[in-house]
């Protein structure tokens, strides 16, 4: 059984041979026609999403990212053997190469917009009527529209691609990710800072740089 971490270029994968993956397993590289996968071999593996294992996955992906373009794989990607992995690389070669081109020289930055706690309805005696709750949800909806217009839109203009997560759970108002050229990261941060300074009711968190998880998926043709 093998566990796969990321797709990259062959030269990038070859530079990782001394690093370790899940459970301390040696990292290996498999390459087929100009595309490579980073993986490790396991006698048995049940990659439950504990913080420790997800961080081990993340460290491998970031090590690949430090050396070249990377397409992170979803945590928990297992295949029967190298032949299966090689077959995936062969079958999806063109779209994977296309996706690598898209993320090369870019990083993912994250935006998390959080509602200011409302002292009238949050906390206090801890008693909230149904009406208070509904008002809070209506307020969240308006805040999300405001955040999309005043924060997300101008930031998206600085990015090559952006995605807004479907389900932001309170107190998150808006969660988004941006694919940003490495050279534009300082501009992006400065812009986010200026935009955030104009917001009174919303807190703004900019995170990253991350491997381009949110932009690795490729449209299947």
């Amino acid at each position: 059984m093998i566990y796969a971490y990321a797709i990259c270029e062959p030269a990038t994968a070859a530079a990782l041979s001394r690093r370790r993956g899940l459970g301390g397993a040696a990292l290996r590289a498999l390459q087929r026609e100009g595309i490579a996968a980073v993986y490790s071999r396991h006698r048995s593996l049940q990659p439950r999403p504990t913080a420790k294992l997800v961080m081990a996955h993340e460290r491998v992906v970031e090590a690949v990212m430090a050396r070249g373009a990377v397409l992170p794989l979803r945590f928990g990607t297992q295949l029967g053997d190298e032949d299966r992995l090689a077959a995936v690389l062969a079958a999806r070669r063109r779209e994977l190469l296309h996706a690598l081109d898209r993320v090369r020289g870019h990083v993912e930055l994250g935006l998390r917009v959080i509602r200011e706690p409302d002292r009238r309805t949050d906390g206090g005696a801890g008693e909230r009527s149904g009406r208070d709750y509904l008002l809070a949800r209506v307020g969240d909806h308006r805040s999300a529209e405001l955040a999309a217009r005043e924060l997300h839109a101008p930031l998206a203009a600085l990015a090559d691609a952006s995605v807004v997560r479907d389900h932001a759970a309170p107190p998150d108002i808006l969660v988004a990710a941006y694919l940003v050229d490495v050279s534009r990261v300082p501009d992006f941060r400065r812009c986010a800072d200026e935009l955030a300074a104009r917001q009174e009711r919303l807190r703004v968190l900019v995170t990253g740089p991350w491997p381009p998880y949110s932009f690795a998926a490729v449209e299947r043709r």
Binding site: T50, Q78, A99, A196, A197, R203, L205
Partner: protein
């Protein structure tokens, strides 16, 4: 107020004297990483072996972790920021 800018790695050493903030920042990193590693990234096989229940469990415990560290110190102001984990999109 300005954005809370989390610069990962680069901040490294100069944060070691701020234990509380370091802990909190690590929690935020974990939220962001779980969001991405479990909810995004390419799926190349039908054998991604996570059940919805697994993911929910992680998020539940994570919410508890983050919830137990209710304040984040802004940089450089002393504003208090609260944060909770977002919901994963378990596609």
């Amino acid at each position: 107020m300005g954005a809370v800018q989390l610069r990962r790695r680069q901040a490294g050493g100069d944060m070691s004297d701020r234990g509380a903030r370091l802990t909190t920042q690590r929690d935020i990193d974990l939220v962001e990483i779980l969001d991405r590693a479990l909810g995004a990234g390419i799926v190349i096989t039908g054998d991604v072996t996570l059940s919805l229940a697994d993911v929910d469990l992680v998020y539940l415990s994570l919410r508890l972790v983050v919830g137990s560290v209710p304040t984040i110190r802004g940089e450089p102001a002393d504003e208090v920021h609260t944060l909770a984990a977002g919901a994963v999109d378990p596609r």
